[in-house]
Amino acid sequence: MPRYEWERRFGEEFKKLSKDNQAAFLEAVARFVAALKEGRPPDPGLGIQQMPSHPGIYEFHYSKWGRATFHYASEERGKDAIVVWRRIGGHTIYRQP
């Protein structure tokens, strides 16, 4: 059965999201959780793919502008995966100082 964790920073960032972004993430991640539980590939609309030059980190799209990252704490990617959420942000992630 898949397991889920989150890093401290993810929790802090989730709390700072707008209500709309929090709701959007919950809706999107519920689809991800259901797919893993049923052993089927996640919805392509979730944009899950490994980041180039950063082995092990995956991106996750929960809205047009909302992004999160996670890594697997297990070799398994399916029903026995351990998914660790790292970061989450809304549209402000596009700001480059």
Binding site: Y4, E5, R9, G11, K19, Q22, M51, S53, R87, P97
Partner: protein, 169 residues
């Protein structure tokens, strides 16, 4: 993957010339002409096929070169960020000695980011200074054993997120 192949000019040139002269048309070609053209086109097919294969190889190589360039830009950004962090962590007098190197690193990072913007705009958010700093902070937390939450089942995870959403109201 879809490939577009343009029929070589020499294949259809006779038809165009015939039309330009106004003396004949494709429909007006004699049976002999049609057979000759069909035979010529048939002979051209292997060459067309070879060119299509070459084009496909070229497209695949081009995609690989782009992936390699994205990888290099990402590596430059990550290494630059780590070194910039290291210089900022030095005592002020030692950091001042590294000011020139710091400037070069910042410039190199900026150029690599601009290159990434061109090559991989959809994932540019990940390469911003802010997002990269956060990823490094997560790595430091993991290395230091800073506790997060979990492990949880899917249902527990969704319930915990919902509770956290309610808390942050």
């Amino acid at each position: 993957m879809n490939y577009t192949y343009v029929v070589p000019y020499e294949t259809w040139q006779p038809f165009v010339e015939a039309d330009e002269r106004g003396s004949t048309s494709v429909a007006a070609l004699s049976g002999l002409d049609v057979r000759k053209e069909a035979a010529r086109i048939s002979r051209a097919i292997p060459e067309m096929s070879r060119k299509a294969d070459s084009l496909r190889d070229l497209q695949e190589r081009s995609a690989q070169v782009k992936a390699d360039l994205i990888d290099v830009a990402g590596q430059i950004i990550r290494v630059s960020d780590r070194l910039i962090d290291a210089i900022h962590a030095l005592p002020p007098e030692q950091a001042a000695e590294q000011a020139e190197i710091l400037g070069e690193l910042e410039q190199g990072r900026k150029l690599a980011f601009e290159r990434m913007a061109h090559l991989n705009p959809d994932q540019l958010w990940f390469w911003t200074e802010e997002w990269q700093a956060g990823e490094r902070a997560v790595d430091r937390d993991i290395a230091a054993g800073v506790p997060g939450e979990g492990p949880m089942t899917g249902e527990e995870f969704l319930a915990a997120l919902d509770a956290m959403r309610a808390e942050s109201a």
